[in-house]
Amino acid sequence: MLSPDEWQVLALSVRVALVSVACSLPVAVLVALVLARLDFPGKTLVDAIVHLPLVLPPVVVGFGLLVLFGKRGPIGSVLDAWFGFTFAFRWTGAALAAALMGFPLMVRAIRLSIEAVDRRLETAARTLGGSPAFVFTSVTLPLALPGIVTGTLLSFARGLGEFGATITFVSNIPGETRTLPLAIYTFTQVPGGDAQALRLSVIAVVVSTLALAASEWLTRRARAGR
């Protein structure tokens, strides 16, 4: 049904989106927890920085990544010298760009759900002998689960559709960084590529719909659990 090239694009896109979500989720939970529960000087600034990718043009984010994480960038050169690891022009760079663009959406959803958890339940858990860390994993996280699922889905969808930051940071390399949106864009640039672009667009619709359905199902399960 799908050609080998289409499979490759699809597999790459899903891999990029999944890896970006998996790596950013723990960080997002931590940041959401800090923003939801702690008051400290500069909190507004942290909040603004987290939300920056949402309001900046994606190309600017991609350019920023290129400057920082490029082979000669201040962070990229260190990673390359110490770990032999590069983001530039690799699929890992596409995942980084996707993670960054999806991060504010993820933090927002998780933060709201943590704020909605009745803190007195946590107090009750403490009086029952639970340490703060245990209470967080046994009470706060399960109760915030619907928001975590929603945030993860939003970020996954954002990663799947990420275009501007990706093409600026890691270019459009077939088999390496050419995800669905980039492939669709490429086909629209060549004469007679419209049919191919359409086929890939349908794939994008199907994958996104599946992800939405999966998250609905997970959220309902999490809610039914109480």
Binding site: L121, A124, L128, R226
Partner: protein
């Protein structure tokens, strides 16, 4: 033994509470806003007093001067909250076991089977909190707190969210806990009938201060208390035991140190100790023993205190043997009968004023 001596300032509210109590059930009594919850929170380690000490059974939980402030999870204080606060994502069984699993096997003195049986939770184990009634939730909350193996159980207005039938049910469960488990209970309430029924020692709080500490019978009969606690149900408690039931007349007779009380037939067995609460407005005084009267209880007493006389009603305290009873009279009657300290009077109590629900089962003490 619960030993609390703390002070805390929050805005205009100044808390300054000091009491030491060693009893199966300590009642913390006062109107809302008196600081009761602040005190139990401090015992549980929620919120930190600015000064003082808190000790339970010799364990120092808090000592501001020595910089000791154990976190809640290390205090081993069971806390039953007004709203239950069951974990909504866990079923009843998982709620019950939440605290037990945090204790080492050697600390698990109270076993889950026992608690399930004591509180009648068997049929609820697989249910989710959202499907439970208010009374069921409170029973689960009590069981959950007990299984965390506490040194003392705090109950903060556990009946507040319940209807009258559920209240009676939970009260009798609390009595079962007291009789069958050796865990001291601090029972917080603004309702004098709950305190009467349960508490052995009563600590009265008003506007953040301890205004009285002592045995329930002594404290709750004090004339100055209604003013401090805002209750208009002034009254007194008489500790008694059941001497006989009269099947034909449908009466039960209670004996106390000072005489006998006849009451409409009650459930308690002969020999059982009960605590009767007599409201001041159900008590009349007479200078001569009345004849041909429907009132069954006529007791000899001596006036030992007369309350504030500026309003239309006056509370008069009468000592009968070792018991105290309060009578609420009009000021007119007080003057007409020339009620004064040391005067010998007959105390008239209608038997029907003492129906079943004013009784508490006093702890069976040796």
């Amino acid at each position: 033994m619960i030993d609390v001596d703390i002070a805390e300032r929050r805005g205009a509210f100044q808390l300054d509470v000091k009491f030491a109590a060693d009893a199966p059930i300590v009642g913390l009594f006062g109107r809302s806003g008196a600081g009761k919850t602040t005190v139990v929170n401090a015992i549980a380690g929620i919120g930190r007093p600015s000064r003082g000490t808190i000790r339970v059974n010799g364990h120092v939980l808090f000592d501001a001067a020595r910089g000791i402030d154990l976190p809640p999870e290390r205090r081993r204080i069971g806390y039953v909250f007004q709203e239950g606060l069951l974990f909504p994502h866990l079923d009843v069984e998982a709620n019950l076991l939440y605290g037990q699993r945090r204790r080492t096997p050697s600390e698990r003195v109270i076993v889950d089977e026992r608690v399930v049986e004591l509180l009648g939770l068997q049929a609820l184990l697989r249910r989710k909190p959202a499907t439970l009634s208010g009374g069921e939730k409170q029973r689960v909350a009590i069981g959950r707190a007990l299984l965390a193996q506490p040194r003392v159980l705090l109950m903060d207005e556990p009946l507040a969210a319940l209807d009258i039938a559920r209240r009676r049910e939970i009260l009798s469960y609390v009595e079962r806990l007291r009789d069958e488990l050796a865990i001291p209970i601090v029972y917080v309430s603004h309702a004098v009938d709950e305190i009467t029924r349960l508490a052995d020692v009563v600590v009265v709080l008003a506007e953040g201060k301890t205004v009285a500490v002592g045995k329930a019978g002594d404290v709750l009969g004090r004339l100055d208390l209604p003013a401090a606690t805002g209750g208009d149900e002034a009254g007194a408690i008489v500790e008694a035991h059941v001497t006989r039931h009269d099947a034909e007349r449908l009466l039960s007779t209670l004996e106390f140190d000072g005489g006998e009380l006849n009451v409409p037939r009650i459930e308690s067995a002969v020999g059982e100790r009960v605590r009767a609460r007599i409201l001041a407005r159900d008590v009349s005084l007479a200078l001569r023993r009345p004849q041909a009267i429907s009132i069954l209880n006529v007791l000899d007493g001596t006036v030992t205190a007369i309350g504030e006389q500026s309003s239309a009603t006056v509370d008069v305290q009468v000592t009968i043997g070792a018991a105290l009873v309060n009578a609420r009279l009009t000021r007119h009657s007080v003057r007409e009968l020339d009620i004064r300290l040391g005067r010998h009077v007959f105390v008239l109590v209608k038997a029907v004023a003492l129906d079943q629900h004013t009784f508490g089962h006093a702890e069976v003490s040796a």
